[in-house]
Subunit: 468 residues, 4 copies
């Protein structure tokens, strides 16, 4: 790195002035994790408090030791929250920084806290406490987004838009139906996070370095204090398992994939080619050069950030591939991607919810697009089938009608009855009910269909799930 | 892979001479999917039979039509299994190939089968039937591997090996304990597949192209016939959702990651540097040039195939990113990676189970490695703590003892009492219990620890879970 | 794909009935590579012929041996091309299958062919010969696509379309300019493949298993016969290097990314929302249910297949990560992704070229879209700046004009002079030159700009590069 | 995010106190890039200075304007380097922050700087200036690592170790030969970065938003000032191309793959199972619980960080996939991964070089491992071939000898002549030359082989390349 780069790097990477970086020590900087794992501090203290309670209960430390440790850790926590804690890279990581400060405050009792545990099981515990918290929050945020989506859908049951396949006009649908599809995707996302939580919420503490400890510890007691559902049954697995991080990331990738699909649509819908919706000004920016521009920045960034989350997934999978048991230092690399995934989905869900809640919809533009594009052609085919023609034949007849309409530059509903009858004698006056957009939608009545009543029922069902 | 799957695989992997490829049609070859999706044939027919039953029940087709369709489809199935079916690339995909042949056999009634459905919901149904089958089989295979692993562990509770962290000798552990760690990973894999199954086992059929159909279909009836737990509540979602494939692939990636870690260990353990185990000849090959070589081909390939499965995951996530609703042709690309993931994990689980069951273990070499490397140093530290020294101090004292031992080129248990006492007056004669491998292991008694009794209980618990 | 490649592909994709798979041997199936590496057969023979020539020149084998080997290998080649070769999975791979057959034909001399080499350096040689061939073909295909694109651009220099950023209308541009952007991307792709070729085209043969051989071989002679530019200077590196495959795949990923971006545009352009172009029928399909549909299958598949190629890249990178030297069996997994990447880009380039050459363009629709959307707003700002207003101020004034126009639902060029002058006194009659689409384009005259003359020069420059 | 999380987040993400974050503005935070793109500040100023020079030369701004702009930008640069610059998130990005401050300092002339450019071409220029700098530095660092490696190799030409394939002992090799293999990989890395530099070093400035500008700019003049080799020939391509970032990342992935392979070996070599080398204390850490441990932290982290770099590659490829032309906001996501890749490889190369330079090697342990494991078995086979036996037969004979030796638990060189002769009458007294390690190595004399003279020549060739 040349001088110019170095200057800039200093600026960008600068740590807190409280952070005492030793001048020349590249290795320390390369191997220390405190600059990112200090984010776990609150959880580290929470875990230590439970561990200390147990040590005292098991008479491994004295009641006096426990009192001092509690007092000391509470002070450390206050210092951290008040941003007065002096993080030191020489103390490598969040664990040693805190333990060291604790011992400064309370003396020799602080040194007893690490009895019967190792940083290997400690950091696994911290990460699980952290991620449980993240997942609970994610589930709440998903629900909020679902709520907002359902509200928007409620207002647009009768709003007609062209349903697309292959970005071609296919059949008319209700806009509420379209919005409900995203509600369903989010429902699966929620379930996946809920299930992953079960595998996060298991206590690794007590595994010590890798083999357990010879102290008479009570792991179930610690689990109870920390609200873990159970304890991990194998100490080697406890210190080396990172499944829960990968599973969280995989779920986040799917969530982002859904929001990315939705964003793609919002970008198109707010373009002059569609004009279905207008995204509120606060989620857009202008151009530094083109005064007429209003750019859909937020959905573009959501779409872009999908790659970010997928990239982290590849990172974590690559990280764990072919590592021998038990703990290896490679695992320190599990934190930054996890934190970034957690922040990305939290920010995205938050902002997406607000954006959806402030969306302006132009029903007339949607309907105009549905009329154009022969979206009721299938209905004409179905009409013929109901009159007795085999489906594949009807399909052929309608294809001819559409070709003729394209040449005539008119819509199917513009035809006169006798024009239509040239294509099949089965066509009678009642055909025009099928060629009407509303009629087309109304005719699809079963579970999951776009029919107005079907979609009303579907929205209701979603709202009930949400209230649980 | 069960019999049904195997039959289909045979069909798919063979470009039958009966496959009439039109000479110059590059596009047809590029866009047609029949060369890989014919693998879904059996499931396509299964779905069509249920659809036809429902059409008849709802009086959309006649009883006579149904009879003919059933007869025809059964004949088609026979032709396929007997490999006499003439797949045609001009018929694009498995669906049109089968429907076309059906119509050849039974005439106009065949054309009625497609009433009220589309290839969009049809292929989604086929894929779910296929993957449900794969997942059931995967769960069985995981259980079989767990069983074999537990059996091996049973025989090696008293086998002592050095537990490693950072590939350095850490503490003595039981080999059974090490094997049990893999059992635990597989347990999580099993749970993940079981949960994913719930999201696979939902019926998309009835969504038609994207909006549902105007025919009075009964989706719950079809779901019941096909043993789906429920029906998808939104037709747009039904035709465009590929979450279930991605989720399956993500679970498969984690499974392969576990097997890859184990393989890494088997490769090291069977090398002359460890000599812990010998892999049965049938899982190894020789060298074309070096007559003395015995290469651990199978674990090497398992390790290698992890990248393959991870790559497919990236493929599928990239595929779905930013696709607008509903169905787009991109989705046709979902099949080959899914089939390959399914085959890879099925073959791997099968062969891995056999390899583990035929593993030769050399306990004496494991124990020798544990003695070398000061694996009981932690025990010495714990000994000092129990005598009243704070942990961090004890850690420092033992570090000095180890440094001295390295200089003397001897093990900790080789020291005389008075030598040890030079480092701390707290050391008494009973210290030698802690420096002994067996004693060290035995002292770790809590849940999840490597102590002989702990591991016995853990194995028992695993066996109970397995029998459920 | 050239003829040689095509022949081999035919062979590989067909599980010949002549292929004798032993019934129950799962392991053999799992570890054998012949079912995919037989695709290398022609290159394997080419390499063996050169190796044999060298062995004879160096007097390691006799002239009689060489004569027999040449005769035998020629016969083997004929059998393979005629699809009469009996591939056996018991012979593991392409190398042993061929050598075994050779020995059947010519007897003991066949056994001498493997002198001074190993399968490790042999397969590396085969892969390099194969990939060199693929890369040469890829470069030709890229050039063909560039040619077709330039031809289309030539016809559309005066075709005006709205240039988009953020999918919003930004400024008017020439359609030729837009097409030329893809030409430039392809130019970089071509360069990357050309550079990668240099690293492919180095001979590994002679590295033997990993250390070289004690036979007095002449590697430069073999390199010359096989048209390799040089020999690899380290035998460990020669057998373990897979950089060249990863580099090829990374280049292919970039190429697909470009074609995927273009496909995204073709899909939008051919939708009823744009109607800029019509893709020839032969690259589209209809719907099984909606008779009016014309789906842009080919660009959708191109977009989808990008994930496929990216996935293979992840596969290969994961495969090589953390492998100790020298050859490990994991590397066998390098072949299938490479073959698939090669086939995918070859088919895609081929079909894409044809699709572009048959594209129907609707200039009037493009121009209409440019008028709508205030695409000349920047020009108005620039007009003001040229009259003396600082840019940031001008930007603000025009933003007000556009807001007013939106409210009035009219275009900028619809305003009367006095209306415009309300926003700034600097505006005079000559402002209307700037508000005109053609005038706007014409005013951008520098290298790389969309001005008609600039784009003419750019096209010429591209054509000159192409002719080299 | 609950309160606990929020507190921690505040701590971790805290921006400089100079950074004025508006309280409630989530969107601003989500869309602004200044917190990471401020790292480009120096390059942004460099580009602006050149742009201003050109504007003045072309008489678009006055000499007085230029003087002021230069003065102002120099002051801004000083403020930034002195860390006194007040970055504001309301000014979105590095460009607006600097321009805004410039205008504060010099007044209206500052507003003229943006004439004839847009942030779209400005950021592309900044990134290219930045990455050119990074690449130059990377190339230097690679060379330094090569130098250190060659020095180590020089000292170990006569150090014998077992060459491994499949982690099994294959043939004896020189340790220098092994080290040289990494030198060769680094050589390819260097070439790839050099070639990528050519595609980085092309000027996008002048493309403006996407179409070029109507100002009479002189792009070649700007290119010359900024030392770009040429200008981009298409403005749409100039603002949307991110190939150069992906190519850089792909090259970085290959580099990390090489260092990861080497790290895997260092981890094994420094374990008690190999004891080939000792990594200097400063690159290792101890255990918080096991006093005897010395963990190879640095190579473990290098291995782990490979996933990180590969993940970023997936991120960038996913980001660009299927983006329509020209610039989209998604592209803002290109910066963080690029910065992280650049930092990761810079830190890693730096630290790796030092680690290698301080490596302690134990030649006697390497040689002992070579003796064990029948590493000269191939030499025995070659001996037989030279005596007239066809290679495949010789291979079979030696396999029997090795099997016998395993049973006898002795090495090949331990046999008596008459024992060996039982296996073949061709074996004479001179066989023992072939069974000796040194003899085996010496016999491999050709280019690229492990023979002592061959490796000397190879090292010399590498040193000459390096000096260029």
């Amino acid at each position: 790195m040349n001088k110019k780069q170095k200057n800039m790097k200093k600026i960008t990477k600068k740590w807190s002035p409280r952070f005492s970086e030793p001048a020349n020590n590249k290795v320390q900087r390369y191997t220390a994790s405190v600059n990112f794992d200090k984010r776990l501090a609150i959880f580290d203290i929470e875990g230590s408090l439970a561990h200390a309670e147990m040590l005292k209960k098991q008479k491994i430390i004295s009641a006096a030791d426990l009192r001092l440790i509690k007092k000391g850790l509470n002070q450390v926590r206050k210092e951290i929250i008040a941003q007065k804690f002096k993080w030191s890279i020489e103390q490598e990581d969040v664990h040693l920084n805190i333990e060291n400060r604790l011992t400064q405050i309370i003396g020799i009792s602080g040194k007893k806290l690490h009895t019967g545990r190792s940083r290997n099981d400690q950091v696994a515990t911290d990460m699980r406490l952290y991620l449980r918290d993240v997942v609970d929050n994610t589930i709440d945020q998903i629900k909020s987004l679902q709520k907002v989506t359902l509200s928007l859908a409620d207002n647009h049951i009768m709003t007609i838009m062209p349903g697309l396949t292959h970005l071609q006009v296919a059949q008319p649908i209700s806009f509420a139906h379209h919005l409900h599809a995203y509600c369903e995707m989010l429902e699966r996302d929620k379930l996946r996070f809920q299930e992953a939580r079960k595998r996060i919420n298991v206590l690794p503490l007590g595994a010590a370095a890798l083999a357990g400890t010879s102290y008479p510890i009570d792991r179930k007691f610690v689990a109870k204090l920390l609200k873990f559902e159970s304890v991990m049954d194998n100490s080697l697995d406890a210190v080396s398992d990172r499944d829960f991080l990968i599973e969280f990331n995989a779920n986040a990738s799917l969530l982002m994939t859904h929001l990315s699909r939705w964003s793609e649509e919002l970008i198109m819908w707010s373009s002059p080619f569609f004009e279905y919706v207008e995204i509120s000004d606060s989620f857009c920016t202008g151009s530094s050069i083109m005064p007429q521009k209003k750019n859909p920045d937020v959905p573009e960034l959501v779409r872009g950030k999908t790659g970010r989350v997928n990239g982290h997934l590849v990172n974590l999978l690559t990280l764990m591939k072919a590592q021998p048991l038990a703990y290896n230092k490679d695992n320190q690399e599990d934190k930054e991607p996890t934190f970034d995934v957690a922040d990305t989905i939290s920010d995205t869900l938050d902002i997406f919810r607000e954006m959806v809640s402030k969306l302006t919809v132009f029903p007339e533009n949607m309907e105009a697009a549905a009329i154009k594009g022969y979206s009721t052609a299938t209905d004409l085919a179905d009409y013929l089938v109901k009159k007795g023609m085999p489906f594949r034949e009807a399909h052929g007849v309608v294809a001819k009608v559409v070709k003729f309409a394209i040449n005539q530059k008119c819509d199917l509903s513009d035809f006169k009855l006798k024009d239509l009858q040239k294509f099949s004698k089965l066509i009678l006056k009642d055909v025009f009910d099928s060629l009407d957009l509303k009629g087309s939608i109304e005719s699809r009545k079963h579970i999951g269909a776009t029919g107005f009543n079907s979609i009303k029922k579907a929205l209701k069902k979603s709202r009930i799930k949400l209230s649980k």
